[in-house]
């Protein structure tokens, strides 16, 4: 089908599906370039439905950067919901781009973002709908290059066989280098193999087909080697020394999506070193944007979009050096304009009454969220989030005093060395918070406990530890459910079967690829949607590949074994992760590294980069 035929067919089938506005594009700020006037055509894919994918900041950034180039265009595609997929398959409509309704297999590059692991089967479904062979090894020269990016790529192995290349790290600079290489290769008539070989020379680009893995009799990795001498043994993540200007011409959807607002990243990275937090370890160093740059971006974005909400994003907003100045300036500049401002990710301990005063003036909506993550001092030392219960209660008191009546608390169960007492303490803490609320807000005070389950993520100090079993998780959740039966306390938790799938997919190795393929063949898709997730189909898929999934989730790994992601270099030294893990067993904490450099490896790995930017805003102390 060509784009006219697709447009014609869409008119026939869209009346039969829910929310057809998802499938036609036409957003304000959409970029549509004449196909023949550019050299390189890139389809950016978020492998879930439009409503979830449209606000994705990574795609927004790449869309903007690529379309600023004269020689390239970027268009978008999302996964159709099941009703639309059925109509597309019946009608023979391939997955197409929203802008020009071009079938995806006509593009030079398909860029798929993998922000989390439960999207993996959707990637296969997208490729299948696009009529692109699922396995990289089966693609011919005329097929697009299929490239992944996003945080899940920090363990690229489970999806390695489906991608021609995977980008490790930040996309803003590498995207241009990738386009340049592909453009030159296309002009020179290079084959696929020659193209990916050249891409593998770029820092941060991993080409899975250029590596071989062998396994020991016990099933652990014995060796992981490049197939050629000029292919790097380790792939060092790509990182921008200075954050490039944030995007401001956001796509404004015509139909409702989640997080429908302007998003401005105020800083990237975090210096706290919570041991469970992958983002905190893989996004170092901390790079801040100036207050002026942020204000200008908000201003430009509001003019370009007309949005009525702005979110100021980072991993830990209250750690942003100029947070007071920023919040005050935002309020002064935009007050009276019916604008609401969201400032998520506030830390309990770096939070002042002045900041609370400012936030209160900015149309606070709904509840106030804090993330203690654990409820006993011992547990918080183990995970290196050493806030005290007193600090938490002090902050909560201030929150209620400022007029909020509902507080949301994020906790995790399943941390290493967690006991039943630590879980019971979550219950006690929720009641202590509710009591503080009642003193101030009376009967209106509400507590919402969001309790997720810990998964040891790659590239963190906990990467060697085992997950709790379903039985352990269930027992802990029962304590919470029984303990938190109160009309003013709401509890939400994660189904242990969801947790396990995420654990298998984030801790898996190359052999997991076949399992993902089987699972998709067994009908798995939309695994992040509870109504579609099929645990038993996954177990069947593992079984048919002769792999025990519980070995991925419940086996404590030895400190000297080759991990599936050992060839990915986040910039942080493995020896530091090991030391930090051993410290956790001793209950030893590590302070914020803005105060004292622990030599995590970033300054060594990216020393040249820092030297080349004498005025860079890295928040690392001088060493």
């Amino acid at each position: 089908m060509n784009s006219e035929q697709i447009t014609f067919s869409l008119e026939q089938i869209l009346p039969r599906v829910q929310k057809p506005g998802r499938y036609v594009g036409g957003e304000f700020n959409q970029v549509q370039k004449p196909w023949n006037q550019v050299d390189i055509h890139i389809a950016l894919v978020f492998p879930d439905i439009y409503d979830i994918g449209l606000p994705n900041l990574g795609i927004s950034i790449l869309y903007d950067l690529i379309n600023q180039r004269e020689d390239a265009l970027a268009e978008r595609a999302y996964l159709p919901w099941v009703d639309m997929e059925k109509e597309m398959r019946i009608g023979g409509i391939p997955l197409y781009s929203l802008e020009s309704k071009t079938p995806l297999n006509q593009f030079d590059v398909i860029g798929i973002t993998l922000p989390y692991e439960t999207l993996y089967t959707n990637v296969l479904n997208a490729l299948d709908l696009a009529r692109i062979p699922l396995l990289s090894s089966e693609r011919q020269n005329h097929h697009p290059l299929v490239i992944a990016g996003g945080h899940a790529c920090y363990n690229p192995e489970p999806m390695a066989c489906f991608f021609d290349a995977m980008v490790i790290g930040e996309g803003e600079e590498i995207i241009h280098k990738i386009i340049d290489v592909i453009k030159a290769g296309k002009r020179a008539g290079l084959s696929r193999d020659e193209q990916v070989r050249l891409l593998s020379k770029l820092q941060g680009v991993y080409v899975p087909s250029l590596y071989t893995v062998t396994y020991s009799a016990e099933g652990t990795i014995e060796s992981f080697k490049p197939t050629h001498k000029d292919v790097p043994t380790r792939i060092t993540r790509q990182m921008a020394a200075v954050l490039p200007p944030p995007p401001t011409r956001f796509l404004v959807p015509l139909v409702e999506v989640i997080q429908d607002r302007v998003a401005v990243e105020i800083m990237r990275g975090c210096t706290r070193g919570c041991r469970f937090c992958q983002a905190g370890w893989i996004m170092r160093p901390v790079r801040e944007r100036s207050v002026q740059e942020i204000l200008a971006a908000i201003d430009a974005a509001l003019k370009a979009t007309g949005y009525e909400e702005v979110a100021l994003l980072s991993l830990s907003s209250s750690d942003y050096t100029h947070i007071h100045e920023l919040v005050k300036a935002v309020r002064e500049r935009f007050s009276g304009k019916n604008l609401s401002v969201a400032l998520p990710s506030l830390r309990i301990e770096s939070f002042s009454v002045e900041l609370m005063d400012e936030l209160q003036k900015m149309r606070p909506s709904g509840g106030f969220t804090l993330a203690p993550e654990a409820a006993t001092d011992r547990m918080r030392q183990i995970i290196n989030k050493p806030v005290s219960t007193e600090q938490l209660l002090d902050t909560v008191r201030t929150v209620f005093q400022h007029g909020w009546t509902s507080v949301k608390l994020y906790f995790m169960i399943g941390h290493p060395e967690e006991t039943i007492e630590d879980v019971q303490a979550i219950v006690d803490t929720c009641y202590a918070v509710l009591r503080e609320g009642r003193k101030i807000a009376g009967g209106r005070a509400k507590v919402h406990a969001g309790v997720s389950t810990f998964i040891p993520k790659p590239h963190t100090p906990f990467q060697w530890v085992a997950c709790d079993t379903i039985e352990q998780i269930t027992a802990k959740q029962e304590i919470l459910m029984k303990g938190l039966k109160n009309p003013n306390i709401k509890l939400s938790w994660v189904d242990p079967k969801d947790t396990l799938l995420e654990a298998w997919l984030s801790r898996g190795d190359r052999r997991t690829g076949e399992v993902i393929l089987r699972a998709w063949q067994n009908g798995c898709k939309f695994d992040a949607w509870s109504e579609h997730y099929n645990y038993n189909a996954w177990l069947t898929a593992f079984d048919s590949c002769g792999i025990d999934p519980f070995k991925y989730s419940h086996r404590e790994r030895s400190l000297d074994e080759i991990l599936p992601w050992s060839h990915i270099n986040s910039g942080v030294r493995t020896s530091l992760l090991k030391q930090d893990y051993l410290w956790s067993k001793e209950g030893k904490t590590r302070s914020d590294c803005r105060e004292h450099c622990f030599g995590c490896g970033i300054l060594t790995e990216y020393g040249d980069l820092r030297l080349s930017m004498p005025n860079s805003t890295w928040q690392c102390p001088e060493v």
Binding site: G21, V24, G26, L254, V255, T305, G306, N338
Partner: protein, 218 residues
């Protein structure tokens, strides 16, 4: 509104909805207009309360999937805007699927737009194969005294809501005028169903909104 009436200005905007906004529902249209007005930095008059809403009236909900050559929206501003300036600002800030046809300032005391609409003309292009007997089906439908139908579980009579119904220029299209009042809205898909045609296999275009009864019954 706590603003004195004297500083408010009310504008009636007539526009077409093209392919680009064909699948936008009613709530999404309200948000689409608000964001377009905000981009244009026009002095929107907001309602009071915890979550202020822009003061706007829409004539009649256009079903998802319909095109339209005539939609009406009233918008209140807190200051006077030259009509040409307003048109220009709207044109550069509305999405491609909306085309402004006319703008005029109207009296603040004009009754709510949704109460003024009486009827609507529709053109319906039918996708299915040529229907030799379509004229006969129309004739026999119109001869009926009542057409009992059910919508969302509620029975109603479609017949009095059909003011006129005829074949279009081609045998593949219909032209109809249907009642379009808040309590008595005729839906063209229902007319197709009553003609035993697949209501999903058609392209609907609203051609006109009538603010006076087209049958001359005021």
């Amino acid at each position: 509104m706590n603003l004195p009436q004297s500083i408010l200005h009310r504008y009636r905007i007539t526009y077409a909805r093209l392919e680009g906004t064909r699948y936008v529902g009613n709530l999404d249209m309200i948000r689409l207009w608000e964001r377009s007005l905000r981009r244009a930095e026009l002095p929107i008059a907001y309602s009071q309360g915890f979550s202020p809403q822009p003061r706007m009236h829409f004539a009649s909900t256009l079903p998802v999937g319909f095109l339209s050559e005539m939609e009406l929206t009233d918008i209140w501003f807190t200051s006077f805007i030259e009509l040409d300036t307003l048109k220009e600002k709207l044109e550069s800030n509305l999405p491609a699927g909306i085309k402004i046809r006319q703008i005029m300032e109207i009296s603040l005391s004009t009754p709510p737009l949704q109460t003024q609409v009486k009827a609507a003309d529709y053109q319906v292009e039918i996708f299915s194969t040529t229907l030799e007997d379509l004229q006969e089906r129309i004739t026999s439908l119109l001869e009926k005294q009542s057409i009992h139908r059910e919508r969302r579980g509620k029975p109603y009579d479609l017949r009095p809501l059909i003011f006129s119904l005829k074949l279009g220029d081609t045998r593949q299209s219909l032209e109809m005028t249907l009642s379009c009042q808040e309590s008595a809205t005729g839906r063209p898909e229902e007319v197709l169903s009553a003609l035993d045609l697949d209501p999903l296999a058609a392209r609907y275009t609203r051609k006109t909104l009538h603010l006076t009864d087209p049958r001359g019954k005021g």
